[in-house]
């Protein structure tokens, strides 16, 4: 029997960079640091108390050094966009083990302006270099999207249903002044936008932006001493499946998603009907569909009609991606941190598009296309 880790750890600080979007004057490392400073101020913690650091994209050592933090817990898990959910999972274990007292998790990415940032992708002798790149893959738009047609052919999922994810997400973005894209859109607008890689159009692809975010976690006992009400971690999960998109086992589902979600729910000991708010990392319109199915809110194949019926949109019964998502709010590259930030805001009652009475929120997403995944279930109920 696994340890009961429910509400043993809480998020006491959460903040993004001063702004998100186009930030050509700040390096990638600087974005990590600015987000971290804002989270430190949000918590009201003395920086010298922080003894754990986790980060992806940049080395956690580089971030700690930049901030003059002296860590004795270092997590450099960097498997893609949901590395931050995995950092939370690891921090829960480490804090419970007494391995450290306060963990700072940072994200910063100069995805658009590419200031102070290394290259992307591997060499011609890597597995993707030999077995994918020669076929004209060019990163996420025509690679992460490869599984969609398998879902369409197995379940009858339609282009209009896929487009409805982008429409619902934009409706949330319209309520968020920090969102990059705020004009309402229709299914027709999505289907008439530039074709990127059929069946995916421009408005079904995430934005490319600059920005960052940071979280500070500690044990539930210590969490009472800080400025903001604690957001407790109820459950976490992580999983990995495939190295390349072409090595997924079944293109209609993500085993990494399923693995992460199953453990998170088992740890949290809640039902799907207990969940008030969901952040399903949307790199493309199909990723929330795969997420909704993997998390068990609908049966396999039912996500298309479900999104098209408006359940996730403003006024729907399960609000999803209420910040406007990667599709319309911001997407720096490894977006998972922003999903976590919005869950915290909703649980604190601080969101731009606040959903009434949120008690349980989940942030879930993919990492490295569908290669890996992380899930975090949070609550504001002590």
């Amino acid at each position: 029997m696994a340890l009961d880790l429910r509400k043993k750890v809480a998020i006491i600080g959460a903040a993004e960079t001063d702004s998100v979007g186009v930030l050509p004057s700040i390096t990638q490392l600087g974005l990590h640091a600015q987000a971290a400073r804002n989270a430190i101020r949000d918590a009201g913690i003395d920086k010298s108390e922080i003894d754990g650091i986790a980060s992806a994209g940049e080395s956690p050592v580089a971030v700690a050094d930049y901030l003059d933090i002296q860590p004795r817990y270092v997590d450099g898990t960097s498997v893609g966009g949901s590395s931050y959910m995995i950092h939370v999972a690891h921090a829960v274990a480490a804090l419970n083990a007494g391995y450290c007292n306060y963990v700072l998790i940072t994200h910063g990415e100069s995805g658009r302006s590419r200031v102070g940032r290394g290259g992307f992708g591997g060499g011609a002798a890597t597995l993707p270099g030999q077995f994918e790149a020669p076929y004209g893959t060019m990163g996420p738009p025509n690679t992460f999207t490869v599984p969609i047609v398998a879902h369409m052919q197995k379940y009858g999922t339609t282009e209009e249903q896929l487009a409805s994810v982008a429409v619902a997400t934009r409706a949330w973005a319209a309520k968020n002044p920090r969102a990059m894209m705020r004009d309402p859109i229709t299914i027709e607008d999505v289907l008439n936008s530039r074709l990127i890689a059929w069946p995916v159009h421009l408005l079904e692809c995430c934005l490319v932006t600059d920005g960052g975010g940071a979280l500070i976690l500690t044990t539930a006992e210590r969490a009472r001493d800080f400025k903001k009400p604690p957001v407790y971690v109820l459950g976490t999960g992580e999983g990995a499946e495939n190295m390349m998109i072409s090595t997924m086992h079944d293109f209609t589902e993500s085993r990494a998603f399923e693995r992460a979600a199953t453990r998170a729910f088992a740890q949290a000991q809640i039902e799907r009907s207990d969940v008030d708010h969901l952040m399903l990392y949307d790199a493309f319109a199909h990723t929330p569909m795969y997420g909704l199915e993997a998390l068990g809110f609908v049966k396999p194949g039912e996500s298309g009609p479900w999104f098209a019926a408006g359940h996730s949109a403003p006024g729907g019964d399960l609000p999803i991606n209420t910040n406007g998502g990667g599709l319309s709010y911001t997407h720096t590259g490894m977006y998972g941190m922003f999903a976590l930030q919005e869950s915290v805001r909703q649980l604190r009652g601080e969101a731009a598009a606040q959903v009434p009475d949120v008690k349980i929120s989940i942030a879930h997403g993919p990492a490295g296309f569908f290669a890996a995944s992380g899930t975090v279930i949070m609550t504001n109920q002590a």
Binding site: G129, P134, G136, M138, T143
Partner: protein, 143 residues
């Protein structure tokens, strides 16, 4: 005038060299585990199922089924003159699946037939590298 950039050229490793050698001879060869009696792909030092070293390279039929695809409307570097092109996953009759392009059929912005039967055809992209691609089964070979 636009000049196409060069396409990514695979660099074989000791583990993958027999695969690329087969391709160069226009024969699709993948690994087979003689212990658990199953093919696997991509190339590895040992069988990913049972971890046995008892693996050998075998020519396969080159026949398969289209599992999923995108039709890329935007080109990767080197593919400027080829849009739209289909990036596809083909499941070989022997079991494993692999990424490829669907060729020798009209690539429109509509769907390719679900579960379409396909067969391998090789494209020589350098003196050393030939890429396995797939065409609808029964397509007459050009040239």
């Amino acid at each position: 005038m636009t000049q196409a950039r060069s396409k990514p050229l695979p660099v074989p490793t000791p583990e993958t060299a027999p695969y690329w050698e087969g391709c160069k001879q226009h024969e699709l060869r993948i690994q087979f585990c003689t212990d658990c009696q199953q093919h696997f792909f991509y190339p590895r030092l040992f069988c990913p199922r049972c971890l046995s070293d008892a693996v050998e390279w075998r020519a396969v039929s080159g026949k398969g089924t289209l599992l999923t695809y995108v039709i890329s409307a935007r080109p990767a570097p080197g593919f400027e003159n080829e849009t739209p092109y289909a990036i596809a996953i083909v499941k070989l009759d022997e079991g494993p699946h692999m990424m490829t392009n669907i060729v020798n059929t009209e690539i429109t912005l509509a769907t390719l037939p679900a579960g379409m039967a396909v067969e391998v055809v090789f494209e020589d992209i350098s003196d050393q590298i030939s890429l396995p691609k797939f065409q609808p089964a029964g397509t007459a070979r050009s040239g």
